[in-house]
C-alpha cells in the first residue's frame, strides 16, 4: 500500500516509542481521586454533589453547562471529601471534586462484561444523546465535547469520518496499544460514530511506525465501510488539518473547521469510548495513558481511572528516576510541563513523559540568522521568525494579518531553530493577544 502524507512542512523528531508493544495494564483505583470540573473545551461543568455524598463508579457528579460543555462522572466509588480548588496540569489550582475511594461499586446499568456488543438499533439522535450523557470528549488531547462535533451545522454536509490513529508525538503509545488490543471494539465505535454523524465512508489513518497496528486494523475492518490508510512518519501528521489533507487532499480553510470540507475527525480513543458509552452504557471514567521516558524502569501503557494522581502512575512504572528534571503531561512536542506530580489524570492526558537532566534544559538563545528553517517546517505556511519579532515588539494587529491564528502550536518551528529561539512561546502570546483584539472587535 502506498503511504500518504501532508504536503507542507513537518519535522522528524526521534520516535522513542519505548512503551510500544507493552500490554495495557489496568490499574486499580487509588486511595483518593481529584476530578477537575473542567476537563474539556467550553464551559466548565456544574457540580451536583456535595461534601459527604456517597458516589458510585459512573455516577454523574457534574452536569454539562451550555452548548459546548459535557458531563463528568465519578471514576470511583466512595465519599466526596471536598469540592474545592486543587492543583491540576494547567499549573493553577482549579475547581475539582475530591473523593475518598471506598471499594469499587459501579452504577448498575453499566455493562462490565468483556463481551463484544455489536450493531446498535439506536438512531443518530440517540447516539448523540448517549455520547453527551457519557461525557465523551476528544481524547486526542483537544478534549472538544464529541456530541457537539457530531452535530453538523446547518448548510454544511458531512461526507467522511476520519479516524486519527496517527499518534505522531514521540514516546506516546496509548493509541497504538488500543488499536492492537481493542480492535473489534474500536471498529464498532467507528461504526457508531459514522451512524451518529450520518456518513457512509470512514478512513482510519495510521502512521507507518506501527505496521502491526496497520495490519491488525486492516484485517478487522474487512467487509465494513471503514478503510485503513497508512501514512508516512512525519510530525505533525496527527494534526487534524494535516490528516484531512493527507487522506483526502482537502485543505480546511483558514479560520474554518474540517466540516467546511465535509469531514469530521475523531481520535481512536474517542471512538473506543463511544463504543463503551453506547453499547455498554459506560461513561468516560478511565483512559489509556502511556507512562514513559528514557530513564523509566518500566515504560507502560496503563488504563487509569480519571482523577488518579500522576505520582501513582510514576510509582507503578518503576518509580521516579533520580535524574528527572521535567515531567510532561502529553508528548514532548505539545505536552504541558508539570510543576508537581500531584496533578490528576484527566480526560485529555494521553501520556506522562519523564525527561532527565541532560535533555531538560533549553539551549542559549542566539539572534535569528534568517536561515528559513522555521518557514520550511511550518505545516501551516506561516513565518515563525517574523511572528516572534512582531510579538516581542507588541505589533499584534500585524500578527493577525500574518495569519497567526492559523498556528496549530505544533512546535515544529521551535524544535528546528538553530538559534534555539523560543518561537512558539511568543507566537502563543501573540495568539492570545490577537484573540482579545478579535473578541473586542466582535463585541462592538
Amino acid at each position: 500500500m502506498s503511504l500518504k502524507t501532508f504536503s507542507r512542512g513537518g519535522v522528524h523528531p526521534p520516535e522513542h516509542k519505548l512503551s510500544a508493544g507493552n500490554a495495557i495494564e489496568v490499574l486499580a483505583p487509588p486511595e483518593i481521586v481529584v476530578i477537575p470540573i473542567s476537563q474539556h473545551l467550553g464551559a466548565p461543568s456544574k457540580v451536583i454533589v456535595a461534601r459527604g455524598d456517597q458516589v458510585k463508579v459512573g455516577q454523574l457528579i457534574a452536569r454539562s453547562e451550555g452548548f459546548v460543555s459535557t458531563n463528568i462522572h465519578s471514576s470511583v466509588s466512595g465519599k466526596v471529601l471536598k469540592v474545592d480548588r486543587f492543583m491540576d496540569s494547567s499549573g493553577y489550582r482549579k475547581m475539582a471534586v475530591q473523593i475518598q475511594v471506598e471499594g469499587d461499586q459501579w452504577v448498575e446499568t453499566i455493562d462490565r462484561s468483556d463481551d463484544l456488543v455489536r450493531n446498535t438499533v439506536l438512531t443518530s439522535e440517540d447516539i448523540r444523546k448517549k455520547i453527551l450523557d457519557a461525557g465523551i470528549v476528544g481524547l486526542g488531547g483537544a478534549t472538544f465535547p464529541s456530541h457537539v462535533k457530531l452535530m453538523v451545522p446547518g448548510g454544511k454536509r458531512a461526507e467522511y469520518l476520519l479516524v486519527n490513529g496517527v499518534e505522531c508525538e514521540p514516546y506516546l503509545t496509548s493509541d497504538h496499544a488500543l488499536m492492537m488490543e481493542r480492535s473489534e471494539e474500536l471498529l464498532s465505535g467507528i461504526q457508531i460514530l459514522m451512524k451518529g454523524l450520518g456518513v457512509e465512508k470512514a478512513i482510519l489513518g495510521i502512521e507507518n511506525n506501527k505496521p502491526d497496528a496497520i495490519d491488525k486494523m486492516k484485517k478487522v475492518v474487512e467487509g465494513s465501510a471503514v478503510r485503513v490508510q497508512g501514512l508516512k512518519v512525519k510530525y505533525p501528521q496527527g494534526g487534524e488539518k494535516q490528516l484531512v489533507q493527507a487522506l483526502l487532499k482537502r485543505e480546511v480553510p483558514s479560520g474554518g473547521l474540517p466540516i467546511d470540507v465535509g469531514v469530521v475527525v475523531f481520535n481512536v480513543g474517542t471512538a473506543y469510548a463511544a463504543y463503551e458509552a453506547v453499547m455498554k452504557n459506560r461513561p468516560l471514567i478511565d483512559r489509556i495513558v502511556s507512562v514513559t521516558g528514557k530513564s523509566m524502569e518500566k515504560p507502560s501503557n496503563f488504563q487509569v481511572r480519571i482523577g488518579t494522581p500522576i505520582s501513582l502512575l510514576v510509582e507503578k512504572a518503576g518509580g521516579l528516576p533520580d535524574n528527572t528534571s521535567k515531567v510532561i503531561n502529553g508528548g514532548p512536542m505539545m505536552g504541558k510541563a508539570l510543576s508537581t506530580l500531584d496533578a490528576p489524570v484527566v480526560k485529555g492526558s494521553s501520556g506522562i513523559l519523564l525527561i532527565g537532566d541532560e535533555e531538560a534544559r533549553r539551549k542559549e538563545v542566539k539572534p535569528c540568522i534568517r536561515c528559513t528553517k522555521c518557514v520550511n517546517v511550518c505545516p501551516m505556511g506561516l513565518e515563525p521568525y517574523l511572528l516572534m519579532t512582531l510579538s516581542e515588539k507588541g505589533l499584534f494587529e500585524r500578527m493577525e494579518s500574518e495569519k497567526v491564528m492559523d498556528c496549530i502550536e505544533c512546535g515544529s518551528c521551535s524544535y528546528t531553530c538553530p538559534s534555539s529561539r523560543p518561537l512558539l512561546d511568543y507566537i502563543r502570546l501573540g495568539k492570545a493577544e490577537v484573540g482579545k483584539i478579535m473578541r473586542a472587535r466582535r463585541a462592538v
Binding site: 507542507r8 519535522v11 523528531p13 499549573g91 488539518k241 489533507q245 485543505e251 480546511v252 480553510p253 483558514s254 479560520g255 474554518g256 467546511d260 528527572t324 528534571s325 521535567k326 515531567v327 510532561i328 502529553g330 514532548p332 512536542m333 505539545m334 505536552g335 504541558k336 510541563a337 508539570l338 510543576s339 508537581t340 513523559l353 525527561i355 535533555e359 531538560a360 533549553r362 539551549k363 542566539k366 539572534p367 535569528c368 540568522i369 534568517r370 536561515c371 528559513t372 518557514v375 501551516m380 505556511g381 513565518e383 521568525y385 517574523l386 495569519k403 492559523d406 502550536e409 512546535g411 521551535s414 524544535y415 528546528t416 538553530p418 538559534s419 534555539s420 523560543p422 512558539l424 512561546d425
Partner: protein, 330 residues
Amino acid sequence: MNKFIVSPSPHAYSEESVPRLMYGVIISLLPVLGVSVFYFGIGMIIVTTVSILSCILFEYLIQKYVMKVKPTHLDGSALLTGLLLAFCLPANIPFWIVMIGALAAVGIGKMTFGGLGNNIFNPALVGRVFLFISFPVAMTAWPEPGQWMQYTDALTGATPLGLMKEGLATKTVSEIMPDVPIFLNLFMGKMMGSAGEVSALALLIGMIYMMYRKIISWHIPLTILGTVFIFTGILWLVNPDRFADPLFHLLTGGLMLGAIYMATDYVTSPMTGKGMVIYGVGIGIVTVLIRIFGAYPEGVQFAILIFNGFTPLINKYVKPKRFGKEVANG
C-alpha cells in the same frame, strides 16, 4: 524532592545549531581552499590566514569594547566571513590591505547593523567592494597560477573576463578566445583570478555537499546560474562576435563563488522559495548587464549587494503559500 523545570512546549530540540551550520559551510569550502593553495601557493595561505584571524579578532574587539556585549567570535560566522573574503582577493595582496578589508567586512558590514542576523549586506562582499574601490590597482592584479613560493612579488595578469572586456573594444570574440585558457582549465581553475573563484569544479563539489547537508537549497545558486546562462546564451546566439558564449560566462569571474556562497548567505537572502527565485533571477540579470554593458569586467559582487538591499522588500511581499483558503466570513 526534585525541582522540576517548567517551560512551554515543545520540550524536544533538534540537533541544529549555528556553529553546525557555519562549520558545515566551512567544510564544504575545503575543496576550494585546497585548489587555491595548489594554484596560488604561499600567497594564498598568508592571505587566508590573515583574513580569518583579522575577522575573528575584529569581531571580538568590537563586541567586547565597542558594543559591550558577550563576544561570539568563535561561533563560526567570523571565520566564514574571513574565509570567503580571502577567496575574493588576489593571492598576492599585501597583508595590511587584507586587514583593512577584514575590518570593513566585520566592522562595517556586520557590526554596525547590530551583529549576526541584523546585517543587510553580505559582509564578505562589503569588505571586498570596499577594497576594490579603495585599492583598484592592487585588486585587479591577478597572480598567475603555479607560483607557489611567490607572495607579493608574483607575476600578474588579467582574468579571462578582464581580457574579454578589454579585448571586445577592438576585436571580436573569436579573436580573443585563443588568449583565454582552454575550457578544461577554466573548469579546474588553472587561470588568473581570485583564490576562490577560479575552480568551478571545487565550488560545485562544495555546493553538492551543502545541499546534501541541507545547509542551502537549490533555489538561489541554480536560479542565478540558470539566468546568467540563458541571458548570455540569448545574447551569444544573436551575435557570437560581440558576446562570449554562456559557458565562458559561467566558468569565469566570481559568478560561481558568488552564486553558491555569497548570495546564499542566510542573513541577507530572502526567506521563501519564491522570494529566492526572484532574488536569483535579479542577480543573474544585473550581473550580465554589468559584465556586458557596464564599466567593470565583473558584475556579480555589485549585483549581489544590490539584491541584498531588495531582500527586505521581497520578504515583505512574497509570503509562503498559506494552508487553507481564506474563509469568506472570516
